[in-house]
Amino acid sequence: MGFSELVDTKPKTAYMLANEAVARALLEADVKVAAFYPGSPTSEILDTMGAFAPSFDDLVVEVAANEKVAFETAAGASFAGVRSFTSMKSVGLNVASDAFYSIGYTGVRGGMVLLIADDPHAHSSQSEQDGRFFAFPAHVPMLEPATAQEAHDMVAYAYELSERYGMVVMIRTTTRVNHQSSLVSVGQVKRSPRSRHPWKDVRAPYFTLSATARKLKGERLASLALMQRDAAECPFTTVSEGEGDIGIITSGVSYLYTIESLQTLGISPSVLKLGMTHPLPTATIAAFLQGKRTVVVVEELMPYLEREVRSIAQETAPHVHILGKMSGDFPYVGEYSIPVVVQGLSSALGIDGAPPYEAHRVKVEALKEGIPHRSPIFCPGCPHRATLWSVYMALKGTDYVLNNDIGCYSMYLMEPYNSSDSLLCMGASLGVSSGMQHVLSDQVVAFVGDSTFFHAALPGLVNAVHNNHNLLLVIFNNSVTAMTGQQPNPGSDFGPLPVTRLNIEQVVRGIGVEHVYPVDTFDPKGNIPIIKEALAHTGVRVVISNGPCALYNDRLRRKAGTPIVPNAVDHGVCDAIYACVRKVHCPAIQLDEATKKSVIQADLCNGCNVCAKMCPVGAINPRGGDGA
């Protein structure tokens, strides 16, 4: 939906992304402080809230240095008495989990909601982590929406629950919920003023230690037991009575696949859709199991519900067959879809009548044989392309190990580069390099982007300097957190609200690194000797490659009215050497089918000139070589 419509305070029904619907619901819930670190598939919640911030002077929206700080910022605001929010991708909660587990004990004051999004299929994540398993050990209630409308409506419900029990509430989504658009009915936005008040007005203890910890844990478990009533009456939990002695238990987007799959198979068993998945409504599930012969559990990722349902069945209905992943009927890996659920139900229930999805797919796969892959690749104008080439050239002929990190530059591990030796999680390139330099005889090189540097690599750098390690760190300073949609990071000069820009070079020098080499990304040849010099030293050395993200830079140029001047190839000069192809791998460059000489597609070219600098005969310039 257009932003003007989203920000308009009147109730309406409009087309929006589920993440936009969540942001709108946060406005309606009068949330005062929202802090985020971006991560797919949640980033659009941040983006939308960030866009809201200037329109509501009572609303604070911040991009935090990482998820832990974002979570703690929301926690502090809640302790001080206002509603707060944070959202993060599945692995973000690994970073924030230290605070998350403690808040499970301390509880909160102002309503506090955490949205975490898992990514079945690992579309844009390093793992298929199942975040539902965080809720139980942390004693935190959990809700799961299936649609954009539910994602919107659950926000208000979550705040009510949070305030009623003084506990943080988690909304757990998956990629196919966050990135679903549909018509959503939204309510009136009515903001209250945000005024400062003294701590004594809201003062309460928020610490947990030894005897207090044991007392608080008991209280939380008692609250969760009370919450059984809410779980049973949860407006997002529904039972539809069907025919026969078969039942299905499901939640989230799997519910949508299930309903359509049942229509496709022409069967109508009873379906229990769970809106609250911690605590699970034990009595509701037990009642659902009564009189059933078979109950199939439909859920993505790990068998979270299935194990719980099995244990409830063992107590209350031991004759019911519980089927799902553990029975081998549904897959553990990848995301679900109608074909996957149709197949799983057919297998579990021993029925025929599934459409020939697989036969159709196999037939088309054969037609697609030899189709060129279009794997993710650096954008036209991306600064990483040139930095990587310079680093590669400087390292040529040496023995080295390269520890990569998380960001667009991660693509260095893929075709055509295939040039990374490790990649664990944000910030890990430094710690891993520290361990390796104790053991290996090679040059040890670590990569990190500016956002990742501030997020989790700082302690790694502090550690390397303190312990006299011997490694080269390359920082890709492209001014933004590019991969998730060019959000600001502490090195950026903008944010949802006014910010102070941190200078990476000063930070690195402040930590005590002596050999610091700032370079201009877009001078690939000139940077080779500088990086070689860095390699020749020992100790911790840092190269900072400065050059803006192409997409961010496009935005800046558009705003400033600076034209983007595309390059062209002068075919009179071009000698078909293909340096522009082999060294650059730019999506804007392809060969003319007749002459087999390179051509640059004007609508794709970003005018970064890296290909022009690589061309040994000077055939590339903005006017195609006509004497420019």
């Binding site: 658009s181 229509q263 109608i338 088309v364 949609g485 060969l591």
Partner: protein, 209 residues
């Protein structure tokens, strides 16, 4: 009969697929028609392969189309029409751009193999394979038409106009055109309207043949 019209949209990152998705949404919001999409956000690089599953009708619940159940494919780039072909129903129409954007890895492989005596995976080859599932194909030089209309960026709107010429398409052409006019930057309304009409006319002409 299930009330669901399924469209698989595909293209290359940067071609404006999301604008098309919003046009569908705008029209459905106006007419109160149920719509759900499964979109690809996330890796934000330009130039990757992208798709949007778009489903219209009261029975369309799931954000993903099942294999072989798309009633229409709209492809902003020819290779991408083939890449998502498993979603298309046998015999269902494809509205596509004839533009082929060769991925850099394909070009690099071509150069390594010897560009003089090797060729790209070409449009003719793509069309031949598409015909393994359907012969109802409208392929337009959408980029050229958009440029003629006044802006290369209206490549997507040319194809939307063309889709409106497909029999059984769930949006009225006038509603779609009007939504485009509302959504695009004010300075480009004229060019986008022209692009829309060129696509629409080209599609109608192609079906008459």
């Amino acid at each position: 009969m299930k009330d669901a019209y399924n469209i698989i949209l595909s293209g290359v990152g940067g071609q404006g697929l999301m604008l098309l998705s919003s046009v569908f949404g705008e029209v459905c919001a106006k007419t109160g028609t149920h719509i759900v999409t499964g979109e690809q956000h996330g890796l934000s690089q330009r130039s990757g392969s992208i798709s949007v599953h778009l489903r219209i009708g009261a029975d369309a619940l799931s954000p993903l189309i099942a294999y072989g159940e798309a009633d229409l494919a709209i492809a902003m780039e020819a290779t991408e029409a083939l890449r998502y072909l498993e979603y298309l129903r046998e015999g269902a129409p494809i509205v596509m751009s004839s533009r082929v954007i060769h991925p850099p890895l394909e070009t690099a492989a071509l150069v390594d193999a010897g560009a003089a005596d090797h060729d790209y995976f070409a449009l003719a080859d793509i069309m031949e394979r598409l015909r393994g599932v359907t012969t109802s194909i409208v392929a337009l030089d959408a980029l050229a038409l958009a440029e003629k209309a006044g802006t290369a960026r209206a490549e997507n709107v040319v194809l939307l106009g063309a889709a409106c010429g497909v029999k059984g398409f769930p949006l009225k052409a006038d509603d779609a055109r009007e939504a485009v006019e509302r959504i695009v930057p004010p300075k480009t309304v004229e060019a986008n309207r022209a692009a829309f009409d060129m696509g629409f006319d080209a599609c109608c002409a192609a079906f008459e043949e």
